[in-house]
């Protein structure tokens, strides 16, 4: 990458504009310096966030022994897995409905409505959900994880929808037409042609919504009942008390999980067709 920036001087490219490399470096620095620092101090032996007292895995061990962290992590995972599965399923159907049918009235409106949650300030959604679920809670007396899963699934739909829709838009309808021509019924066309070709988009949608659900704070904070902390809300709670590198350790693990998900996604979608 850097090699490219500095050495490929022969052809014309925007990268030779004056100051381009400097700006690029500043951006990278602003992006990665804080994260690097965070990861770095997660290996601090002492209990200070700024004073380096030697390398150790102390805070990782500490975090993993912390029962609250264990529970929160488990909860986060359950919610993220359920929410991403539900939202991907819904998003796939929505994307098929908005691209693979004959154009119908109100199609644009549906598209806008699916993506509206991206525009609405999260705090508004959070308050709305809080009030809405409060009503349901008084009627049903159910206080379980269902609310969090439903809430996460709901706001993950547009994130899952976009890559699936993009993939479908890029997919020529003529292949499905050809399969129909070769005696495949619509269901078989879907199973044998549409779905396999759509798969990278579905995977991207699922991973994106998984990561989005995993690090959500605001909506979770509003919707959760007492004792339903996820990792991010647990960390937020900790920050109000004593801050130790344990936070760094948890953050680093979250970061690692996101990286793994992204890597898996790249490996899966590398086959291009």
């Amino acid at each position: 990458m850097l090699n490219r920036l500095f050495w490929k001087k022969r052809e014309f490219s925007v990268t030779y504009q004056f100051g381009f490399a400097t700006i690029a470096l500043i951006c990278f620095f602003a992006l990665y310096a804080p994260i690097t620092t965070l990861v770095f101090y997660s290996f601090n032996a002492g209990n200070n966030l700024m004073l380096w007292e030697g390398f150790s895995f102390h805070w990782y061990v500490e975090a993993s022994k912390n029962e609250l962290v264990q529970e929160a992590a488990m909860r986060s995972l359950i919610i993220a897995v359920c929410a991403s599965l539900i939202s991907t399923l819904v998003a796939t159907m929505a994307a098929l409905g908005t691209t693979r049918t004959a154009p119908f009235k109100g199609q644009k409106l549906i598209f806008i409505m699916i993506n509206q949650p991206l525009m609405v300030p999260e705090i508004v959604t959070a308050v709305a959900l809080l009030i809405f679920f409060a009503i349901i809670k008084t009627f049903t007396n159910y206080y379980g994880l269902g609310y969090l899963i439903t809430a996460h699934a709901a706001f993950c739909v547009p994130f899952a929808y976009l890559p699936i829709k993009a993939r479908l838009d890029g997919m020529d309808l003529s292949m499905e037409t050809a399969a129909g021509d070769l005696y495949a019924t619509p269901f078989v066309v879907f199973r044998r042609i549409t779905l396999p070709l759509l798969w990278p988009g579905i995977l991207a949608g699922a991973m994106l919504s998984f990561v989005i659900s995993l690090d959500d704070v605001i909506i979770t904070e509003f919707v959760k009942t007492a004792g339903q902390d996820t990792l991010p809300t647990y960390m937020l709670g900790q920050l109000r008390r004593v801050i130790t590198p344990e936070i760094n350790a948890i953050s680093s693990v979250l970061l690692a999980v996101s990286l793994v998900v992204v890597t898996i996604f790249f490996l899966f979608t590398r086959k291009r067709y």
């Binding site: 020529d172 003529s174 050809a178 021509d181 070769l182 044998r192 396999p196």
Partner: protein
């Protein structure tokens, strides 16, 4: 095959139209088209880009339903039958191969859908691969082969299920000259051997003339003329048809008199000359004072002297084509005229640009157009 069976109608298109969009952007891709395509016929749709050839194929395949009109396949109404219930396969203009499947899997797709037994499928796939010379690339994914190879796979895939009717939308356009020639012969042989009705779309008039049993010339969503290659070439009814196929001269003629009959004949004077000619007169023109006549360049003869010539003019250009030469003339009344003549060894006649020459035209070569 008995005569009655061979002459039976495979596809009957009855007053079909296909409109896209709505006013003010209404596109009449097809407007009131009617044709009968016979069983085991090699039928070609010929016409300029955007005239509705693909649209007509898509209607026959069932990918679109007509705005109005009716279609029959073997006397069964298929107007609203979905494509997977029609024994019709298509070679798509854009190939539309399945990119996640191999060449062999693409070819076997239709056979699998028809639930053919395994051994039959693999035998047919091998047969098709051999036919299109793609044996070595059997296990390649289709996004890893060249455009011409993709076109051949598309052909094999559509042929494999042995449909009643095969629709081919410019199936040879991406092939080089030699391969194209080879595939033309293969296609023609296949059509004769399998008894499949071929509906073939092409831009290439030479291809249309050599391969077809009958040709339909289309323009602007209409079918202008249907006929054998011979009829289309020698007896075009309209200026567009004459102009689209081969080279043509159009000259204005004065109608001196019309003799009623079936068909009516007219006595004509060409381009301000005195001599009159007799030619068949289309019914629609019988009251007109002038008419456009059409003469193929190769049906006119050039001569050195202007005496006894039908037309006279000045040579403005000569184009050498190897076997033939095109002589471009400016007639005495200012109209342009082309004579095509075969080059012979030891040809004594070597006109030069600027020469005053005579053109001799046989009466039979003169034809009055409908428009």
């Amino acid at each position: 095959m008995s005569k009655t069976k061979k002459d039976a109608i495979a596809i009957h298109v009855n007053g079909v139209g296909k409109y896209f969009g709505s006013e003010p952007n209404l596109v009449k891709a097809l407007d009131n088209v009617s044709i009968d395509i016979r069983r085991n016929e090699f039928f070609t749709l010929l016409g300029p880009s955007g005239c509705g050839k693909t649209t007509l194929l898509r209607l026959i395949a069932g990918f679109e339903s007509p705005t109005f009109g009716q279609m029959l396949l073997d006397n069964q109404d298929i107007t609203n039958l979905p494509p997977y219930h029609r024994s019709v396969n298509t070679v798509f203009q854009s190939y539309a191969l399945f990119p996640h499947l191999t060449v062999a899997e693409n070819i076997s797709f239709g056979l699998e859908m028809l639930k053919k037994p395994k051994h039959e499928i693999s035998a047919t796939v091998d047969e098709m691969l051999a036919l299109v010379h793609m044996e070595e690339l059997k296990h390649r994914r289709t996004d890893q082969i060249s455009g011409g190879q993709q076109q051949r796979v598309a052909l094999a895939r559509a042929l494999a299920p042995k449909p009643d009717v095969l629709l081919l939308d410019e199936p040879l356009s991406a092939l080089d000259y030699k391969l194209r020639r080879g595939m033309q012969i293969e296609l023609k042989r296949l059509q004769l051997e399998t008894g499949i009705t071929f509906i073939f779309v092409t831009h290439d008039q030479e291809e249309a003339l050599t391969m077809s049993d009958r040709i339909a010339v289309m323009s602007n969503g209409h079918i202008l003329q249907v006929g054998t290659p011979n009829e289309i070439y020698y007896n075009p009814q309209e200026r567009f048809v004459a102009d689209f196929i081969g080279e043509s001269n159009f000259i204005e003629a004065e109608v001196v008199s019309v003799t009623k009959g079936r068909p009516a004949t007219a006595s004509l004077r060409l381009a301000g000359t005195r001599k009159t000619f007799k030619a068949n007169m289309p019914a629609s023109k019988s009251k007109d004072k002038t008419a456009t006549v059409f003469i193929r360049p190769e049906h006119a003869k050039l001569q050195k002297s202007t005496r006894g010539a039908t037309l006279t003019g000045t040579l403005t250009n000569m184009l050498f084509f190897g076997t033939d030469t095109n002589y471009h003339l400016e007639l005495d009344n200012g109209e342009a005229f082309v004579v095509r003549s075969q080059n012979e060894i030891g040809h004594a006649f070597h006109p030069a640009i600027g020469d005053k020459l005579g053109v001799v035209i046989d009466e039979q070569a003169i034809q009055v157009l409908k428009d």
